[in-house]
C-alpha cells in the first residue's frame, strides 16, 4: 500500500499520519506538498489534521483551492481512496467530496480528549477490519467539528448508510453526553455514496500504539490496506 499525505500550510498531523503508515504499518508513505499536482501513485490520500491557512474564513475553505486538491478531487471521482481527518474532513466538505458542513462546536470550546466511536458498518473499505457495533477509542482535537446538514439531507445520508462512526460512550451507547461537539445524530465520520471517501473528526493516526492510549485507529488504516490488497469487492464496496 502506498499512502500520500498532503501537507497544507498549517497542517500539523501530517507527520502523525506519515508515521502511522510508515513506522507502524510498515507501508509506503510520502508527503504531498499542497502546491504539487502529482499524487505520486498513492493508493490512499490522507488529508491530515491541523489548521490549514490558519482556519481563516472557515476551516478548510482556503485549502480546498490548493493546486493538489484538483488532483485529489479527480482521484476521488475516479474511485481513489481518500481519508480526511479533522481539518481534512473540513476540507472534504468544503470541496464537495463529502456532503454537509462542520460548524463551531456547540459549546464553543476546543474539544481535546479521548472519545469512543461506534462502528456502524463493517462492509466498507475503511472498516472491513471492524465489526458492526464495535467501539473504537481515539482522540478528538477540534473547535469546529459540529457536523451539520439539513434534516431532509440527514435522512438521506442515514438511509444511504453513509454514517460510518458515531460518538458513543464506552459501552457503545450513543448518548448526548458522549457527543463532544453537538454533531447531529452524534455523527463522527461519514463516507461518500460510492464508499471511497471517508471524513472523520477523530484522529485514527493518533491511536496506533499502546503508549498513545489506544491502537484502535490502526483498524481503519488496516482496513484500507486490506481493501488495497484483496480483490475488488472482497474487502468492502
Amino acid at each position: 500500500m502506498k499512502v500520500g499525505v498532503v501537507t497544507f500550510p498549517g497542517s500539523n498531523c501530517d507527520y502523525d499520519s506519515y508515521a502511522a503508515v510508515k513506522h507502524i504499518q510498515k507501508e509506503q508513505a510520502e508527503f504531498l506538498w499542497h502546491k504539487s499536482t502529482d499524487l505520486a501513485g498513492a493508493d490512499l490520500v490522507i488529508l491530515p489534521g491541523g489548521f490549514s491557512y490558519g482556519d481563516y474564513l472557515r476551516a478548510g475553505a482556503i485549502a480546498r483551492f490548493s493546486p493538489i486538491m484538483d488532483e485529489v478531487i479527480k482521484f476521488a471521482n475516479s474511485g481513489g481512496m481518500v481519508i480526511g481527518i479533522c481539518n481534512g474532513f473540513q476540507v472534504l466538505t468544503e470541496c464537495g467530496l463529502l456532503p454537509g458542513a462542520l460548524m463551531r462546536n456547540r459549546h464553543l470550546r476546543f474539544s481535546c480528549k479521548q472519545v469512543y466511536l461506534r462502528t456502524e458498518r463493517s462492509d466498507t473499505r475503511f472498516s472491513n477490519q471492524c465489526t458492526v457495533g464495535e467501539v473504537l477509542k481515539m482522540p478528538v482535537a477540534h473547535g469546529e467539528g459540529n457536523y451539520f446538514f439539513q434534516d431532509e439531507n440527514i435522512r438521506e445520508l442515514e438511509d444511504n448508510g453513509q454514517v460510518l462512526f458515531r460518538y458513543c460512550d464506552r459501552d457503545g451507547q450513543v448518548t448526548d453526553e458522549a457527543n463532544p461537539n453537538g454533531s447531529i445524530n452524534n455523527i463522527a465520520g461519514i463516507i461518500n455514496r460510492e464508499g471511497n471517501v471517508l471524513g472523520m473528526m477523530p484522529h485514527p493516526e493518533r491511536a496506533v500504539e499502546p503508549v498513545l492510549g489506544s491502537v484502535d485507529g490502526l483498524k481503519i488504516l488496516d482496513s484500507v490496506r486490506a481493501a488495497c490488497t484483496q480483490p475488488a469487492g472482497a474487502a468492502g464496496r
Binding site: 474564513l57 472557515r58 475553505a61 483551492f65 466538505t93 468544503e94 456532503p99 454537509g100 458542513a101 460548524m103 463551531r104 462546536n105 456547540r106 459549546h107 464553543l108 459540529n146 451539520f148 446538514f149 453537538g182
Partner: protein, 83 residues
C-alpha cells in the same frame, strides 16, 4: 486609482442553523441586564474593491460569494454595492 468600485458582502448562517456564537453573545447581553434583546445572530462582512473597468462584475461577485466567501450549505450572503 480612485476609480475602483466597492462592494460589501455580509455572510451569516442561514435561518434555522444554530449559531452558537450568537447564542453566547445573547446570553452575555442578558447577563449584563439588557433584557430587551430577544436574539443575536452573528456573521462577518467583507469589503471588496473591484477594478471599475472589469466586465461582468455582478456575476463575478456572486460567484466569489458562493464559491469562497460563504459556504452555501450553512450560510447565506447579501451584497451591498457602495459605489
Amino acid at each position: 486609482m480612485g476609480k475602483n468600485k466597492k462592494a460589501v458582502v455580509y455572510v451569516s448562517l442561514k435561518d434555522g442553523v444554530l449559531d452558537p456564537q450568537g447564542v453566547t453573545i445573547h446570553k452575555a447581553l442578558r447577563q449584563m441586564g439588557y433584557d430587551d434583546f430577544v436574539s443575536v445572530r452573528s456573521g462577518r462582512f467583507f469589503e471588496l474593491e473591484i477594478d471599475a473597468d472589469g466586465a461582468d462584475i455582478d456575476r463575478k461577485i456572486d460567484e466569489v460569494c458562493s464559491r469562497l466567501l460563504a459556504n452555501p450549505v450553512i450560510e447565506k450572503y447579501k451584497v451591498e454595492k457602495v459605489k
